[in-house]
Amino acid sequence: MKKQRLFELDEALGFALLAAVIFVLFPAILDDFRLNLFGKYLTYAFVAVGLVLCWGAGGILSLGQGVFFGLGGYCMAMFLKLEASTPENTAIQSTPGIPDFMDWNQITALPIWWQPFHSLGFTILAILAVPAIFAFILGTAMFRRRVGGVYFAIITQAVAAIMTILVIGQQGYTGGVNGITDLRTLLGWDIRPDSAKVTLYFVNGILLFACLFVAQAVRKSKAGRILIAMRTAEDRVRFSGYDVASFKVFVFCLGAAFASIGGAMFTLQVGFMSPTLVGIVPSIEMVIFCAVGGRMSLLGAVYGALLVNWAKTTFSESFPELWLLGLGGLFIAVVMAFPNGLAGLYQDFVRPHLGFLHRERARAPAADQSPAE
């Protein structure tokens, strides 16, 4: 078998175009406030990219990506909260030096499992490892028993429900419904001012591209092609001697890690973490970002996340009482009329006109995402 190149020409151009949009176009045309919002949208794009791998490539639809997003977000929030809870800042508490919500819940000492989060190194490790390990356990248990499709979706959904109840119920350790709020600095660097948000936006963009490259590499590797084969005819792949479950577990863990990075960046970008991002509703919305972008397309997922969130913000600003109708309609329309999302539209309508001249097409996908300007 011939070794595949990492990028075909048009894929490379697509990446370059997205880079131009994120690193040049948005910063040029958006004010700090909107740029910060797009920074938040980008954190959702991590999840969508992970979902393209799991769902588009692997055929595994997880309705629990919010759990991984939340795990990453909470890990980061715990670190930032500890940094913000210096004895000086918390002098009015009955136990200074612990996070404020613990004090409100009569906890007098920092729980042991919070201790390691004093270290940024450990926190980063945890952001990558905790969701991956969790996904590994969940994935191994399910895929080894050949749970798939709808069942997997519903079980992951239940996991999201459990997670929300647990986080809300253990408010002495997690901040409960309020989440972990009032985060201030990262190693002394104030994350609150606009200038910091702009910096974080670029960090977000860079990390997102790192994830995209990893995802692209996976897709072009042997594993990626086996995944696609599995989605089409799982039994045949199994009969050919491949260990189907391991591939699924791998891609599920990778998707979880991506989601977790997104969650950690969300905490930094928005300045707090809350259980509303863990539950069922956000998990399903994240699937929608992916579906709108095109479940098979990595770049589509990014555009999908940006477009849906931008539409949600704009729509809810202009027609606050009707935006649910629009959002619901979008879900239905995407599923019924454009099952391959934005990427499908591009494939069907734009690409045929550009096939003869690759350079020209660089401008064309801009039409796809132009509303995002």
Partner: protein
């Protein structure tokens, strides 16, 4: 854990908790039956199930107003009319949805999930625009809200009995339709092999539409019944959706008996744990146990053996 209670109190605890568990069981069965028909027999994931239930609740609300205004003498009986209308309204909406949306998606079950989620958002907003963002109060006839005192400690809520009787009646009706009627035979045939069923002359499209309609209609009746014990607002339907799906999946999707067995197991477990633990922890432990068991036995309690 039992210290501090006398023997007679312990007896009362078990009697009352058993009964509380039975009510919960009936509630779960009512919630899940409609979904079991749709998900189990058709493979469609209807995320708007909760919204169909709330449609039934709103129908009850409107019927109660009509009776209050025009037929105050018969107010005690309006609930039965409301349940029938709720069945019809939710059933018709279900058939319309099947025709417009679901029938195009039978080959893509995961996509029905997304599309019906969109539908649920739209229905919520419609309820909000029509009935207002606040919850509406449904007046229940007095005779249904009382309780029957058995001993000092044990009192049996009448609405609990009502829900239980209703559950038995609907389960029996669904059983008869499923296993004794021509329609049921056709549904089961289609579930086992769609192509062959079509080939032997079953009108699969019509059967599908009817099945979906009946599933939604049962959800509507459940919603009507839940006005007795829960809230009626635009987003109330969301409260039920996770429990409902878990009950169905835990029972083994294709088996109605499984749904009932799983509703029984989950409700008893939850109700017993609620008594000894705090409410939140009981809920988490129940869900964890269900997910744990599902991981070990993904096909659910009762699996229908058929060749895929």
């Amino acid at each position: 854990m039992f210290s501090g209670y006398s023997m007679s109190e312990l007896g009362a605890i078990f009697a009352m908790q058993g009964f509380a568990g039975l009510i919960l069981f009936s509630v779960f069965v009512l919630m899940a039956l409609g979904l079991a028909i749709i998900f189990g027999q058709m493979g469609v994931i209807n995320m708007a199930h909760g919204e169909f239930m709330i449609l039934g609740a709103y129908v009850t609300y409107m019927v109660s107003h009509v009776f209050q205004t025009w037929l105050p003498g018969l107010f005690g009986l309006y609930f039965f009319v409301a349940m029938i209308l709720a069945f019809i309204a939710a059933g018709l909406l279900g058939m319309a949805v099947e025709w417009a949306m679901i029938r195009h998606l039978y080959k893509r079950p995961l996509d029905t999930l997304l599309a019906t989620w969109g539908l649920s958002l739209i229905l919520q907003q419609i309820y909000r625009s029509v009935f207002g963002a606040r919850e509406v109060g449904v007046t229940i006839p007095d005779w249904m809200m009382g309780s029957l005192p058995l001993t000092d400690l044990i009192e049996i809520p009448i609405n609990g009995i009502f829900v239980m009787v209703l559950t038995v009646a609907i389960s029996a009706a669904v059983y008869v339709m499923m296993f004794r009627s021509r329609w049921g035979q056709q549904v089961r045939a289609i579930n086992q092999n769609r192509v062959m069923a079509g080939a032997v002359g079953i009108d699969t499209e019509r059967t599908d539409r009817l099945t979906f309609g009946i599933g939604c209609g049962v959800a509507g009746v459940a919603g009507a019944a839940f006005t007795m014990i829960g809230s009626t607002g635009p987003t109330s339907g969301q409260l039920y959706i996770v429990d409902t799906f878990l009950v169905v999946v835990f029972g083994g999707a294709a088996s109605l008996l499984g749904t009932i067995a799983s509703a029984f197991t989950i409700s008893q477990a939850q109700s017993i744990m609620e008594f000894f633990l705090s409410g939140s922890m009981a809920k988490v432990l129940t869900l964890l146990a269900v997910v744990g068991i599902l991981m070990l036995r993904p096909q659910g309690l009762f699996a229908l053996k058929l060749r895929k």
